[in-house]
Symmetry: C2
Subunit: 207 residues, 2 copies
């Protein structure tokens, strides 16, 4: 009987994740207030009461859904950053895209409501994941030859990560399509990685 226990636990987790995925898409589409528990339940393929069996109330559902989304975005960014076979430029673009680009074209008028609810209901988690994203980017830079340039330029990898994050923010705001976002992000990443190519062409590349 112990053998089935882990399977059941995984089952429960899978259910939760599926529900959270549905909640994320519904909240992203309608915002916090205009998204109803009924809509989320229908999107998740469960009954409305099924939601209340897993989450105490709408606020907790939103918080968990937001954290789930942030967590998966961060995981995707981490995965992109750890693709050692790709260039740093490509990894940085992919990481910023995984982190910020997911909902670029799909933001409607309820974006303000979403931001407001996010900061008021899970501001700490939001800041936490943003810090972890920047830390991951900074770590990738630290592990690359670009760290050599940082020192000579009087900067630290965290500064670069923060600046790249700001660029991603700005592009998310001004881009009409994901292609536009990726194009701008590629330009920024290429400029940030320029010292790498210069080092390489000078023969001072040491991995």
């Amino acid at each position: 009987m112990n053998i089935t226990q882990p399977a059941e636990v995984e089952q429960v987790d899978m259910r939760q994740l599926a529900v959270l995925d549905a909640a994320v898409s519904v909240f992203a589409r309608y915002g916090f207030r205009k998204a109803s528990m009924d809509e989320v339940a229908r999107a998740a393929g469960v009954s409305r009461q099924g939601l209340y069996l897993q989450f105490a109330n709408k606020e907790e559902l939103f918080r968990k859904a937001l954290e789930h989304s942030l967590s998966s975005q961060l995981a995707a960014a981490d995965a992109a950053l750890s693709r050692q076979e790709d260039s740093l430029e490509r990894r940085l673009v992919a990481a910023c895209d995984a982190w910020s680009g997911r909902f670029v074209g799909s933001l409607n008028a309820d974006a303000a409501d979403l931001m407001c609810a996010s900061t008021s209901l899970a501001g700490a988690a939001l800041a936490h994941y943003e810090a972890r994203f920047e830390a991951a980017v900074a770590q990738a830079i630290t592990e690359s030859p670009l760290r050599l340039f940082c020192a000579t330029a009087g900067l630290c990898p965290a500064d670069l990560a923060s600046a790249l994050h700001a660029t991603a923010r700005g592009l998310k705001q001004s881009s009409a399509s994901r292609e536009e976002f990726l194009k701008g992000m590629t330009v920024a990443a290429r400029m940030f990685c320029a010292p790498l190519n210069q080092l390489r062409s000078r023969g001072t590349f040491d991995g």
Copy 2:
């Protein structure tokens, strides 16, 4: 009698500019709807009817004020970019600060109203000035040795200008203070200008 004519014309322009300056600060403080003509008149030191003698209505006043602000921001950015005694990094930071940094810390809840009014009442002018800002930045890059790097990186100066503009947007949104904005902008500009220093240290600097 012709001698006094130009002086009078300049007087009128000065008056208009003073009124527009006052209007800009009032609109920036209260947004479009919550700012009253009475408030603008008091800030400008004229009567409410004085405003209607110079501007047909509130919408025209807002449009002219916005264009005046954009024009002066662009002029300040241009001035910063043409300070040949400064490094390109410093000029780019100063230009972005002049363009985007003016109201960084002072944006309140009425920012949405401002953006909405700006795009609906003078969206064309807004886009026009934004394009001119990016063109000015691109021109400064073209006139610098950085243009050499652009070609080798498969980019054009306009791409860099657009990316820098996006960074300024993102920092404007996420920065709590102007110092934070300037710090982030400096990091981005330094990275964008990194190829310059590398070229210089390799002795391939040709002005």
